[in-house]
Protein backbone atom coordinates (compact mmCIF):
# COMPACT_ATOMS: atom_id res chain seq x y z
CA UNK A 1 0.00 0.00 0.00
CA UNK A 2 2.84 2.37 0.85
CA UNK A 3 4.16 2.23 -2.73
CA UNK A 4 1.05 3.94 -4.11
CA UNK A 5 -0.75 7.12 -3.17
CA UNK A 6 -2.46 7.95 0.09
CA UNK A 7 -4.22 11.06 1.30
CA UNK A 8 -5.33 11.17 4.89
CA UNK A 9 -7.57 13.90 6.32
CA UNK A 10 -6.50 16.34 3.65
CA UNK A 11 -8.09 19.76 3.63
CA UNK A 12 -7.27 22.65 1.35
CA UNK A 13 -8.43 26.20 1.86
CA UNK A 14 -8.10 28.59 -1.04
CA UNK A 15 -8.62 32.32 -1.17
CA UNK A 16 -11.52 33.67 -3.19
CA UNK A 17 -11.47 37.43 -2.97
CA UNK A 18 -12.01 38.33 0.67
CA UNK A 19 -13.38 34.89 1.45
CA UNK A 20 -11.82 31.50 1.98
CA UNK A 21 -13.23 28.44 0.27
CA UNK A 22 -12.77 24.88 1.39
CA UNK A 23 -11.62 23.20 -1.83
CA UNK A 24 -10.89 19.86 -0.11
CA UNK A 25 -12.70 18.81 3.04
CA UNK A 26 -11.10 16.00 5.05
CA UNK A 27 -10.32 13.87 2.03
CA UNK A 28 -9.14 10.30 2.55
CA UNK A 29 -7.99 8.29 -0.44
CA UNK A 30 -5.71 5.33 -0.90
CA UNK A 31 -4.68 3.99 -4.29
CA UNK A 32 -2.56 0.87 -4.50
CA UNK A 33 -0.03 0.08 -7.23
CA UNK A 34 -1.86 -1.29 -10.25
CA UNK A 35 -5.16 0.23 -9.14
CA UNK A 36 -7.10 2.54 -11.45
CA UNK A 37 -9.32 4.98 -9.55
CA UNK A 38 -11.68 7.51 -11.08
CA UNK A 39 -12.99 10.62 -9.38
CA UNK A 40 -16.08 12.16 -10.90
CA UNK A 41 -17.88 15.33 -10.12
CA UNK A 42 -19.09 18.59 -11.61
CA UNK A 43 -16.86 21.54 -12.36
CA UNK A 44 -15.72 23.27 -9.19
CA UNK A 45 -16.22 20.18 -7.04
CA UNK A 46 -12.53 20.08 -6.12
CA UNK A 47 -11.25 17.41 -8.54
CA UNK A 48 -8.34 19.49 -9.85
CA UNK A 49 -7.51 20.62 -6.32
CA UNK A 50 -7.25 16.98 -5.34
CA UNK A 51 -4.88 16.32 -8.24
CA UNK A 52 -2.82 19.40 -7.33
CA UNK A 53 -2.42 18.25 -3.74
CA UNK A 54 -1.76 14.61 -4.67
CA UNK A 55 0.70 15.75 -7.32
CA UNK A 56 2.83 17.84 -4.94
CA UNK A 57 1.83 21.01 -6.77
CA UNK A 58 -0.01 22.52 -3.81
CA UNK A 59 0.64 22.04 -0.12
CA UNK A 60 -2.56 21.08 1.76
CA UNK A 61 -3.81 23.22 4.63
CA UNK A 62 -3.87 20.12 6.80
CA UNK A 63 -3.65 16.36 6.49
CA UNK A 64 -1.03 14.04 5.13
CA UNK A 65 -0.11 13.14 1.56
CA UNK A 66 2.22 10.23 0.79
CA UNK A 67 3.53 9.33 -2.64
CA UNK A 68 5.23 5.95 -2.83
CA UNK A 69 5.55 6.15 0.93
CA UNK A 70 7.23 9.55 0.92
CA UNK A 71 5.50 12.12 3.11
CA UNK A 72 5.18 15.37 1.15
CA UNK A 73 4.42 17.57 4.16
CA UNK A 74 7.93 18.51 5.23
CA UNK A 75 9.35 18.79 1.71
CA UNK A 76 10.59 22.08 0.27
CA UNK A 77 9.45 23.35 -3.13
CA UNK A 78 12.62 21.95 -4.73
CA UNK A 79 12.11 18.56 -3.08
CA UNK A 80 8.48 18.46 -4.19
CA UNK A 81 9.66 19.14 -7.75
CA UNK A 82 12.02 16.19 -7.33
CA UNK A 83 9.08 14.01 -6.22
CA UNK A 84 7.13 15.08 -9.30
CA UNK A 85 10.07 14.22 -11.53
CA UNK A 86 10.81 10.85 -10.00
CA UNK A 87 7.58 9.46 -8.63
CA UNK A 88 4.64 11.10 -10.39
CA UNK A 89 3.42 11.15 -13.99
CA UNK A 90 0.86 13.72 -15.13
CA UNK A 91 -1.56 13.32 -18.00
CA UNK A 92 -3.08 16.69 -18.80
CA UNK A 93 -6.19 17.73 -20.68
CA UNK A 94 -5.69 17.38 -24.45
CA UNK A 95 -2.23 16.03 -23.76
CA UNK A 96 -0.86 19.51 -23.23
CA UNK A 97 2.08 18.67 -25.46
CA UNK A 98 4.84 21.11 -26.33
CA UNK A 99 4.28 22.39 -29.89
CA UNK A 100 7.97 22.40 -30.86
CA UNK A 101 8.60 18.75 -30.03
CA UNK A 102 7.92 15.60 -32.01
CA UNK A 103 6.08 12.77 -30.30
CA UNK A 104 9.38 11.01 -29.56
CA UNK A 105 10.92 14.21 -28.18
CA UNK A 106 7.87 14.76 -25.94
CA UNK A 107 8.96 11.55 -24.21
CA UNK A 108 12.66 12.38 -24.21
CA UNK A 109 12.09 15.73 -22.50
CA UNK A 110 11.17 14.38 -19.01
CA UNK A 111 14.30 12.22 -19.15
CA UNK A 112 16.37 15.40 -19.58
CA UNK A 113 14.89 16.75 -16.32
CA UNK A 114 15.33 13.51 -14.50
CA UNK A 115 18.82 12.08 -14.74
CA UNK A 116 18.27 9.67 -11.86
CA UNK A 117 15.32 8.08 -13.61
CA UNK A 118 17.31 7.27 -16.72
CA UNK A 119 18.35 3.90 -15.37
CA UNK A 120 14.73 2.89 -14.79
CA UNK A 121 13.26 4.89 -17.64
CA UNK A 122 11.50 3.24 -20.49
CA UNK A 123 12.61 3.57 -24.06
CA UNK A 124 10.58 6.38 -25.68
CA UNK A 125 10.16 4.60 -28.99
CA UNK A 126 9.13 1.32 -27.34
CA UNK A 127 6.62 3.20 -25.23
CA UNK A 128 5.22 5.02 -28.25
CA UNK A 129 4.82 1.65 -29.95
CA UNK A 130 3.03 0.36 -26.86
CA UNK A 131 0.44 3.17 -27.07
CA UNK A 132 0.06 2.69 -30.83
CA UNK A 133 2.01 5.74 -31.91
CA UNK A 134 5.16 4.17 -33.36
CA UNK A 135 4.40 5.31 -36.89
CA UNK A 136 3.90 8.90 -35.80
CA UNK A 137 6.89 9.34 -33.53
CA UNK A 138 8.33 12.18 -35.63
CA UNK A 139 5.10 14.16 -35.86
CA UNK A 140 4.49 17.30 -33.90
CA UNK A 141 1.27 17.91 -31.90
CA UNK A 142 -0.41 19.95 -34.64
CA UNK A 143 0.02 16.94 -36.95
CA UNK A 144 -1.82 14.62 -34.55
CA UNK A 145 -5.51 14.08 -33.76
CA UNK A 146 -6.88 14.75 -30.27
CA UNK A 147 -6.83 11.04 -29.39
CA UNK A 148 -3.29 10.67 -30.70
CA UNK A 149 -2.13 13.67 -28.67
CA UNK A 150 -3.64 12.11 -25.58
CA UNK A 151 -1.87 8.81 -26.30
CA UNK A 152 1.43 10.64 -26.55
CA UNK A 153 0.58 12.48 -23.33
CA UNK A 154 -0.01 9.16 -21.56
CA UNK A 155 3.26 7.75 -22.89
CA UNK A 156 5.09 10.90 -21.76
CA UNK A 157 3.68 10.51 -18.25
CA UNK A 158 4.86 6.90 -18.10
CA UNK A 159 8.32 7.25 -19.59
CA UNK A 160 10.04 7.89 -16.26
CA UNK A 161 8.37 4.79 -14.74
CA UNK A 162 6.43 6.79 -12.13
CA UNK A 163 4.79 5.15 -9.12
CA UNK A 164 1.71 7.38 -9.31
CA UNK A 165 -0.15 8.53 -12.43
CA UNK A 166 -2.44 11.55 -12.12
CA UNK A 167 -4.79 12.03 -15.04
CA UNK A 168 -6.69 15.26 -15.57
CA UNK A 169 -9.85 15.04 -17.73
CA UNK A 170 -8.20 12.85 -20.38
CA UNK A 171 -11.28 12.62 -22.59
CA UNK A 172 -12.18 16.28 -22.76
CA UNK A 173 -12.70 17.16 -26.44
CA UNK A 174 -12.64 13.51 -27.56
CA UNK A 175 -15.54 11.59 -29.12
CA UNK A 176 -16.94 8.49 -27.44
CA UNK A 177 -14.89 5.93 -29.33
CA UNK A 178 -11.62 7.75 -28.78
CA UNK A 179 -12.52 8.42 -25.14
CA UNK A 180 -12.99 4.73 -24.55
CA UNK A 181 -9.73 3.90 -26.31
CA UNK A 182 -7.83 6.38 -24.16
CA UNK A 183 -9.32 5.12 -20.90
CA UNK A 184 -8.75 1.49 -21.89
CA UNK A 185 -5.13 2.38 -22.60
CA UNK A 186 -4.81 4.02 -19.18
CA UNK A 187 -6.28 0.97 -17.48
CA UNK A 188 -3.96 -1.36 -19.37
CA UNK A 189 -0.84 0.68 -18.60
CA UNK A 190 -1.86 1.00 -14.95
CA UNK A 191 -2.06 -2.75 -14.48
CA UNK A 192 0.86 -3.66 -16.70
CA UNK A 193 3.26 -1.26 -15.00
CA UNK A 194 1.88 -1.43 -11.46
CA UNK A 195 1.26 2.28 -11.20
CA UNK A 196 -1.32 3.85 -8.88
CA UNK A 197 -3.57 5.87 -11.17
CA UNK A 198 -6.05 8.58 -10.26
CA UNK A 199 -8.19 9.96 -13.08
CA UNK A 200 -10.50 12.90 -12.57
CA UNK A 201 -13.31 13.34 -15.03
CA UNK A 202 -16.81 14.64 -15.36
CA UNK A 203 -17.63 11.98 -17.95
CA UNK A 204 -19.60 9.14 -16.35
CA UNK A 205 -19.57 7.01 -19.49
CA UNK A 206 -15.90 6.05 -19.33
CA UNK A 207 -15.75 4.46 -15.92
CA UNK A 208 -16.14 0.83 -16.94
CA UNK A 209 -12.41 0.09 -16.82
CA UNK A 210 -11.90 1.59 -13.37
CA UNK A 211 -11.30 -0.43 -10.20
CA UNK A 212 -12.99 2.14 -8.01
CA UNK A 213 -15.03 5.26 -8.59
CA UNK A 214 -15.27 8.14 -6.19
CA UNK A 215 -17.61 11.08 -6.33
CA UNK A 216 -16.60 14.57 -5.36
CA UNK A 217 -18.90 17.39 -4.34
CA UNK A 218 -18.05 20.59 -2.47
CA UNK A 219 -14.59 19.26 -1.65
CA UNK A 220 -15.85 16.02 -0.10
CA UNK A 221 -14.90 12.66 -1.51
CA UNK A 222 -17.13 9.59 -1.27
CA UNK A 223 -16.83 6.18 -2.84
CA UNK A 224 -19.63 5.28 -5.22
CA UNK A 225 -18.46 1.91 -6.53
Amino acid sequence: MSAGLSLSGVTLEVGDGDETLLALDAVDLTVAPGEFVAIVGPSGAGKSSLLAVAGALVRPTSGEVRVAGEHLGPLSARERARVRRELIGFVFQSGNLLPALTAADQLRLPLRFNRRARSTARDPLDLLAEVGMASKSERRPHQLSGGERQRVGIARALVTSPRVLLVDEPTAALDRQRSNEVVDLLARETRQHEVATVMVTHDHDILGSCDAVYSMADGRLSRTS
Binding site: R82, F90, N114
Partner: protein
Protein backbone atom coordinates in the same frame (compact mmCIF):
# COMPACT_ATOMS: atom_id res chain seq x y z
CA UNK B 1 19.45 22.96 -24.52
CA UNK B 2 17.20 20.15 -25.68
CA UNK B 3 14.04 22.24 -25.91
CA UNK B 4 15.66 25.57 -26.83
CA UNK B 5 17.23 24.27 -30.04
CA UNK B 6 14.03 22.55 -31.11
CA UNK B 7 12.04 25.73 -30.49
CA UNK B 8 14.53 27.67 -32.59
CA UNK B 9 13.86 25.27 -35.47
CA UNK B 10 10.10 25.11 -34.91
CA UNK B 11 9.49 28.86 -34.57
CA UNK B 12 12.16 29.75 -37.10
CA UNK B 13 10.29 32.69 -38.62
CA UNK B 14 9.77 34.39 -35.26
CA UNK B 15 13.39 33.86 -34.29
CA UNK B 16 14.58 34.89 -37.76
CA UNK B 17 12.71 38.18 -37.45
CA UNK B 18 14.19 38.77 -34.02
CA UNK B 19 17.61 37.74 -35.26
CA UNK B 20 17.30 40.17 -38.16
CA UNK B 21 16.68 43.01 -35.72
CA UNK B 22 19.73 42.03 -33.66
CA UNK B 23 21.78 41.65 -36.86
CA UNK B 24 20.77 45.14 -37.98
CA UNK B 25 21.80 46.53 -34.61
CA UNK B 26 25.12 44.67 -34.99
CA UNK B 27 25.60 46.19 -38.47
CA UNK B 28 24.99 49.62 -36.99
CA UNK B 29 27.38 48.88 -34.13
CA UNK B 30 30.14 47.85 -36.56
CA UNK B 31 29.61 50.93 -38.70
CA UNK B 32 29.57 53.17 -35.63
CA UNK B 33 32.71 51.60 -34.22
CA UNK B 34 34.37 52.05 -37.62
CA UNK B 35 33.28 55.66 -37.66
CA UNK B 36 34.44 56.11 -34.10
CA UNK B 37 37.92 54.70 -34.78
CA UNK B 38 38.06 56.61 -38.06
CA UNK B 39 37.19 59.89 -36.40
CA UNK B 40 39.76 59.30 -33.67
CA UNK B 41 42.37 58.54 -36.31
CA UNK B 42 41.37 61.58 -38.30
CA UNK B 43 41.48 63.74 -35.20
CA UNK B 44 44.65 62.70 -33.45
CA UNK B 45 46.62 60.09 -35.43
CA UNK B 46 49.31 62.74 -36.01
CA UNK B 47 49.64 63.20 -32.25
CA UNK B 48 49.49 59.46 -31.50
CA UNK B 49 52.50 58.85 -33.73
CA UNK B 50 54.66 61.43 -31.99
CA UNK B 51 57.29 59.93 -29.65
CA UNK B 52 55.96 62.19 -26.90
CA UNK B 53 54.76 61.41 -23.38
CA UNK B 54 53.35 64.85 -22.57
CA UNK B 55 52.90 68.39 -23.85
CA UNK B 56 53.54 71.50 -21.77
CA UNK B 57 51.21 74.28 -22.89
CA UNK B 58 50.92 77.93 -21.92
CA UNK B 59 50.10 78.31 -18.23
CA UNK B 60 46.35 78.39 -17.60
CA UNK B 61 45.40 77.73 -21.22
CA UNK B 62 41.93 76.42 -22.00
CA UNK B 63 42.83 72.74 -22.24
CA UNK B 64 40.12 71.72 -24.73
CA UNK B 65 41.60 74.14 -27.28
CA UNK B 66 45.21 74.17 -26.12
CA UNK B 67 46.78 73.42 -29.51
CA UNK B 68 45.12 76.45 -31.10
CA UNK B 69 45.38 78.88 -28.16
CA UNK B 70 48.63 78.04 -26.41
CA UNK B 71 51.80 80.07 -26.89
CA UNK B 72 54.90 79.13 -24.90
CA UNK B 73 58.27 80.82 -24.73
CA UNK B 74 61.17 78.69 -25.97
CA UNK B 75 62.80 79.23 -22.58
CA UNK B 76 60.30 76.75 -21.23
CA UNK B 77 61.97 74.06 -23.34
CA UNK B 78 65.20 74.41 -21.38
CA UNK B 79 63.30 74.36 -18.09
CA UNK B 80 61.66 71.08 -19.08
CA UNK B 81 64.94 69.52 -20.23
CA UNK B 82 66.26 69.96 -16.68
CA UNK B 83 63.33 68.16 -15.04
CA UNK B 84 64.08 64.78 -13.43
CA UNK B 85 62.99 61.85 -15.59
CA UNK B 86 62.77 63.90 -18.78
CA UNK B 87 64.76 62.29 -21.60
CA UNK B 88 64.12 64.97 -24.17
CA UNK B 89 62.18 68.18 -24.62
CA UNK B 90 61.70 70.15 -27.81
CA UNK B 91 59.56 73.03 -29.08
CA UNK B 92 56.43 72.03 -30.94
CA UNK B 93 54.37 74.30 -33.15
CA UNK B 94 50.87 73.57 -34.36
CA UNK B 95 48.68 75.58 -36.69
CA UNK B 96 46.09 74.86 -39.37
CA UNK B 97 46.40 76.52 -42.79
CA UNK B 98 44.53 76.55 -46.08
CA UNK B 99 46.74 76.08 -49.08
CA UNK B 100 46.66 75.16 -52.74
CA UNK B 101 48.92 73.00 -54.85
CA UNK B 102 50.65 73.44 -58.20
CA UNK B 103 47.69 72.17 -60.14
CA UNK B 104 45.23 74.45 -58.42
CA UNK B 105 44.06 71.81 -55.97
CA UNK B 106 43.09 73.12 -52.56
CA UNK B 107 44.53 71.42 -49.52
CA UNK B 108 44.26 72.02 -45.80
CA UNK B 109 47.31 71.26 -43.70
CA UNK B 110 48.06 70.94 -40.00
CA UNK B 111 51.55 72.37 -39.81
CA UNK B 112 53.66 70.73 -37.07
CA UNK B 113 56.59 73.07 -36.50
CA UNK B 114 59.63 71.22 -35.18
CA UNK B 115 63.34 71.80 -35.05
CA UNK B 116 65.14 69.43 -37.45
CA UNK B 117 67.23 66.92 -35.55
CA UNK B 118 65.10 66.92 -32.42
CA UNK B 119 63.24 63.84 -31.26
CA UNK B 120 59.95 65.11 -32.71
CA UNK B 121 61.39 65.65 -36.18
CA UNK B 122 59.73 63.39 -38.80
CA UNK B 123 61.33 60.29 -40.23
CA UNK B 124 60.07 60.16 -43.79
CA UNK B 125 59.26 56.88 -45.49
CA UNK B 126 60.01 58.46 -48.85
CA UNK B 127 62.00 61.54 -49.87
CA UNK B 128 64.02 63.60 -47.45
CA UNK B 129 63.59 64.95 -43.97
CA UNK B 130 63.46 68.55 -42.77
CA UNK B 131 66.56 70.74 -42.96
CA UNK B 132 67.61 70.14 -46.53
CA UNK B 133 65.77 73.25 -47.73
CA UNK B 134 64.37 76.17 -45.74
CA UNK B 135 60.82 75.76 -46.99
CA UNK B 136 60.57 71.98 -47.11
CA UNK B 137 57.64 70.06 -45.66
CA UNK B 138 57.22 66.36 -44.92
CA UNK B 139 53.60 65.33 -45.40
CA UNK B 140 51.35 62.50 -44.32
CA UNK B 141 50.73 59.58 -46.68
CA UNK B 142 47.09 60.66 -46.68
CA UNK B 143 48.11 63.91 -48.42
CA UNK B 144 50.00 61.87 -51.03
CA UNK B 145 46.86 59.75 -51.47
CA UNK B 146 44.97 62.95 -52.27
CA UNK B 147 47.31 63.75 -55.15
CA UNK B 148 50.22 65.66 -53.60
CA UNK B 149 53.64 64.53 -54.87
CA UNK B 150 57.17 64.88 -53.57
CA UNK B 151 58.58 67.93 -55.33
CA UNK B 152 55.21 69.69 -55.50
CA UNK B 153 54.95 73.26 -54.30
CA UNK B 154 52.17 74.15 -51.89
CA UNK B 155 51.27 77.81 -51.41
CA UNK B 156 49.73 78.97 -48.14
CA UNK B 157 46.58 81.00 -48.82
CA UNK B 158 46.64 84.77 -48.02
CA UNK B 159 50.35 84.72 -47.07
CA UNK B 160 51.64 83.30 -50.34
CA UNK B 161 54.34 81.33 -48.51
CA UNK B 162 55.58 78.62 -50.86
CA UNK B 163 56.34 75.21 -49.32
CA UNK B 164 58.01 72.34 -51.14
CA UNK B 165 57.08 68.74 -50.42
CA UNK B 166 60.41 67.02 -49.70
CA UNK B 167 59.24 63.83 -48.07
CA UNK B 168 56.28 61.76 -47.00
CA UNK B 169 55.46 59.76 -43.89
CA UNK B 170 54.14 56.20 -43.79
CA UNK B 171 50.51 55.82 -42.79
CA UNK B 172 47.95 58.30 -41.61
CA UNK B 173 49.16 61.43 -39.81
CA UNK B 174 46.23 63.77 -39.35
CA UNK B 175 45.20 66.33 -36.77
CA UNK B 176 41.70 67.75 -36.50
CA UNK B 177 40.72 65.91 -39.73
CA UNK B 178 43.51 67.68 -41.63
CA UNK B 179 46.66 66.12 -43.08
CA UNK B 180 49.80 66.82 -41.10
CA UNK B 181 52.79 68.53 -42.71
CA UNK B 182 55.98 68.82 -40.69
CA UNK B 183 57.79 72.10 -41.22
CA UNK B 184 60.94 73.64 -39.76
CA UNK B 185 60.16 75.72 -36.68
CA UNK B 186 61.45 79.10 -38.00
CA UNK B 187 59.17 78.94 -41.05
CA UNK B 188 56.30 77.73 -38.86
CA UNK B 189 56.84 80.78 -36.64
CA UNK B 190 56.58 83.11 -39.68
CA UNK B 191 53.36 81.47 -40.84
CA UNK B 192 51.89 81.46 -37.32
CA UNK B 193 52.75 85.17 -36.98
CA UNK B 194 51.00 85.86 -40.30
CA UNK B 195 54.17 87.17 -41.92
CA UNK B 196 54.24 86.90 -45.70
CA UNK B 197 57.57 86.30 -47.46
CA UNK B 198 59.67 89.47 -47.15
CA UNK B 199 57.57 90.90 -44.32
CA UNK B 200 59.32 91.78 -41.09
CA UNK B 201 58.79 89.35 -38.24
CA UNK B 202 57.69 90.48 -34.78
CA UNK B 203 60.66 89.79 -32.50
CA UNK B 204 58.61 87.86 -29.95
CA UNK B 205 57.36 85.42 -32.62
CA UNK B 206 60.86 84.05 -33.07
CA UNK B 207 60.89 82.88 -29.45
CA UNK B 208 57.51 81.16 -29.44
CA UNK B 209 55.99 77.75 -30.06
CA UNK B 210 52.66 76.13 -29.27
CA UNK B 211 53.95 73.77 -26.63
CA UNK B 212 56.95 71.93 -25.28
CA UNK B 213 57.00 68.30 -26.41
CA UNK B 214 58.37 66.14 -23.62
CA UNK B 215 59.57 62.55 -23.66
CA UNK B 216 60.25 60.85 -20.36
CA UNK B 217 62.94 58.31 -19.60
CA UNK B 218 61.69 54.77 -20.27
CA UNK B 219 59.67 53.52 -17.32
CA UNK B 220 59.80 56.86 -15.51
CA UNK B 221 56.77 58.94 -14.64
CA UNK B 222 57.67 62.60 -14.83
CA UNK B 223 56.24 64.88 -12.15
CA UNK B 224 54.31 67.14 -14.53
CA UNK B 225 53.16 69.48 -11.78
CA UNK B 226 56.76 70.10 -10.68
CA UNK B 227 57.80 70.69 -14.28
CA UNK B 228 54.92 73.11 -14.78
CA UNK B 229 55.94 75.07 -11.69
CA UNK B 230 59.51 75.30 -12.94
CA UNK B 231 58.62 76.16 -16.55
CA UNK B 232 55.45 78.18 -16.00
CA UNK B 233 53.37 75.82 -18.14
CA UNK B 234 50.28 73.63 -17.99
CA UNK B 235 50.98 70.02 -18.94
CA UNK B 236 48.78 67.33 -20.42
CA UNK B 237 49.76 63.74 -20.99
CA UNK B 238 49.79 62.71 -24.65
CA UNK B 239 46.44 60.93 -24.23
CA UNK B 240 44.87 63.89 -22.42
CA UNK B 241 46.18 66.21 -25.12
CA UNK B 242 43.88 64.48 -27.63
CA UNK B 243 41.05 66.44 -26.02
CA UNK B 244 42.82 69.60 -27.10
CA UNK B 245 42.42 68.58 -30.74
CA UNK B 246 39.63 70.48 -32.54
CA UNK B 247 36.27 68.76 -32.09
CA UNK B 248 37.82 65.59 -30.65
CA UNK B 249 35.95 65.57 -27.33
CA UNK B 250 32.61 66.48 -28.91
CA UNK B 251 32.95 63.84 -31.62
CA UNK B 252 34.02 61.01 -29.33
CA UNK B 253 31.44 61.81 -26.67
CA UNK B 254 28.67 62.03 -29.27
CA UNK B 255 29.60 58.68 -30.76
CA UNK B 256 29.97 57.12 -27.32
CA UNK B 257 26.49 58.38 -26.44
CA UNK B 258 25.02 56.93 -29.65
CA UNK B 259 26.76 53.61 -29.04
CA UNK B 260 25.53 53.58 -25.45
CA UNK B 261 21.96 54.14 -26.61
CA UNK B 262 22.34 51.40 -29.18
CA UNK B 263 23.55 48.92 -26.55
CA UNK B 264 20.63 49.87 -24.31
CA UNK B 265 18.21 49.49 -27.24
CA UNK B 266 19.68 46.07 -28.03
CA UNK B 267 19.18 44.91 -24.44
CA UNK B 268 15.62 46.26 -24.37
CA UNK B 269 14.67 44.81 -27.76
CA UNK B 270 16.00 41.37 -26.86
CA UNK B 271 14.41 41.61 -23.43
CA UNK B 272 11.05 42.62 -24.93
CA UNK B 273 11.14 39.72 -27.41
CA UNK B 274 11.91 37.14 -24.76
CA UNK B 275 9.30 38.65 -22.43
CA UNK B 276 6.63 38.11 -25.08
CA UNK B 277 8.08 34.69 -25.93
CA UNK B 278 8.03 33.64 -22.26
CA UNK B 279 4.45 34.88 -21.80
CA UNK B 280 3.38 32.97 -24.91
CA UNK B 281 4.96 29.82 -23.48
CA UNK B 282 3.50 30.24 -20.01
CA UNK B 283 1.24 27.18 -20.33
CA UNK B 284 4.10 25.03 -21.68
CA UNK B 285 6.35 26.20 -18.85
CA UNK B 286 3.62 25.37 -16.33
CA UNK B 287 3.36 21.86 -17.81
CA UNK B 288 7.13 21.35 -17.57
CA UNK B 289 7.22 22.65 -14.01
CA UNK B 290 4.35 20.33 -13.12
CA UNK B 291 6.41 17.49 -14.55
CA UNK B 292 9.13 18.49 -12.10
CA UNK B 293 11.46 20.37 -14.44
CA UNK B 294 14.04 22.14 -12.26
CA UNK B 295 13.86 25.93 -12.56
CA UNK B 296 17.59 25.94 -13.19
CA UNK B 297 17.14 23.64 -16.18
CA UNK B 298 14.40 25.81 -17.68
CA UNK B 299 16.39 29.03 -17.13
CA UNK B 300 19.53 27.45 -18.61
CA UNK B 301 17.62 26.19 -21.62
CA UNK B 302 16.05 29.61 -22.22
CA UNK B 303 19.35 31.44 -21.80
CA UNK B 304 21.08 28.98 -24.11
CA UNK B 305 18.42 29.64 -26.69
CA UNK B 306 18.94 33.40 -26.33
CA UNK B 307 22.71 32.91 -26.57
CA UNK B 308 22.44 30.96 -29.82
CA UNK B 309 20.08 33.56 -31.28
CA UNK B 310 22.37 36.43 -30.27
CA UNK B 311 25.55 34.67 -31.35
CA UNK B 312 24.26 33.81 -34.82
CA UNK B 313 22.54 37.15 -35.45
CA UNK B 314 25.48 39.17 -34.08
CA UNK B 315 27.84 37.10 -36.23
CA UNK B 316 25.74 37.77 -39.32
CA UNK B 317 25.48 41.46 -38.44
CA UNK B 318 29.22 41.80 -37.87
CA UNK B 319 29.94 40.07 -41.20
CA UNK B 320 27.50 42.31 -43.07
CA UNK B 321 28.76 45.41 -41.24
CA UNK B 322 32.37 44.55 -41.98
CA UNK B 323 31.49 44.00 -45.63
CA UNK B 324 29.63 47.29 -45.78
CA UNK B 325 32.49 49.01 -43.98
CA UNK B 326 34.96 47.81 -46.58
CA UNK B 327 32.92 49.65 -49.20
CA UNK B 328 33.24 52.99 -47.39
CA UNK B 329 35.36 55.30 -49.50
CA UNK B 330 38.82 56.37 -48.45
CA UNK B 331 37.70 59.96 -47.98
CA UNK B 332 35.40 59.10 -45.09
CA UNK B 333 36.75 58.93 -41.55
CA UNK B 334 36.19 55.20 -41.16
CA UNK B 335 38.50 52.46 -39.93
CA UNK B 336 37.57 48.96 -38.82
CA UNK B 337 39.82 47.36 -36.24
CA UNK B 338 39.44 43.84 -34.91
CA UNK B 339 39.50 44.99 -31.32
CA UNK B 340 36.79 47.64 -31.79
CA UNK B 341 34.51 45.31 -33.75
CA UNK B 342 35.18 42.49 -31.29
CA UNK B 343 34.35 44.72 -28.33
CA UNK B 344 31.14 45.88 -29.99
CA UNK B 345 30.11 42.28 -30.71
CA UNK B 346 30.89 41.09 -27.19
CA UNK B 347 29.02 44.03 -25.62
CA UNK B 348 26.02 43.38 -27.85
CA UNK B 349 26.09 39.72 -26.88
CA UNK B 350 26.47 40.37 -23.16
CA UNK B 351 23.86 43.15 -22.96
CA UNK B 352 21.46 41.19 -25.17
CA UNK B 353 21.86 38.23 -22.83
CA UNK B 354 21.25 40.50 -19.85
CA UNK B 355 17.99 41.67 -21.43
CA UNK B 356 17.01 38.09 -22.21
CA UNK B 357 17.91 36.95 -18.69
CA UNK B 358 15.68 39.60 -17.16
CA UNK B 359 12.80 38.36 -19.33
CA UNK B 360 13.46 34.64 -18.96
CA UNK B 361 13.63 34.93 -15.18
CA UNK B 362 9.82 35.08 -15.33
CA UNK B 363 9.96 31.31 -15.79
CA UNK B 364 10.62 30.97 -12.08
CA UNK B 365 7.34 32.74 -11.32
CA UNK B 366 5.13 30.44 -13.42
CA UNK B 367 2.88 28.40 -11.12
CA UNK B 368 2.88 24.73 -12.17
CA UNK B 369 -0.65 24.27 -10.87
CA UNK B 370 -1.89 26.32 -13.84
CA UNK B 371 -1.19 23.25 -16.00
CA UNK B 372 -4.22 21.57 -14.44
CA UNK B 373 -7.94 21.54 -15.25
CA UNK B 374 -9.92 24.67 -14.54
CA UNK B 375 -6.78 26.75 -14.10
CA UNK B 376 -5.91 26.40 -17.75
Amino acid sequence: MFLGLRELRFARMRFALMGAVVALIAVLMVLLSGLSVGLVNDGVSGLKKLPVTSFAFEHGVQTDAAFSRSVVDLAAVDAWRKQPGVAEAAPFGNTLVNAHGDRGTTIDLALFGVQPGTFVAPRPAEGEGLGTTDNGIVVSQTAIDKGLRIGDTVTVDRLGTRLVVVGSLAGQHTFGHVDVAYIALPLWQRIKAGAAPGDPMPAHALKEATAVAVRSEPGVTVDLAAGDRAAGTTSLSLHDSFGASPGYTAETSTLTLIQGFLYAIAALVVGAFFTVWTIQRKQEIAVMRAMGAPTRYLLGDGLGQAFVLLLVSTGVGVAVGTGAGSLVGGGAPFALTGSAVGLAAVLLLVLGLAGAAAAISRIAAVDPVTALGANR
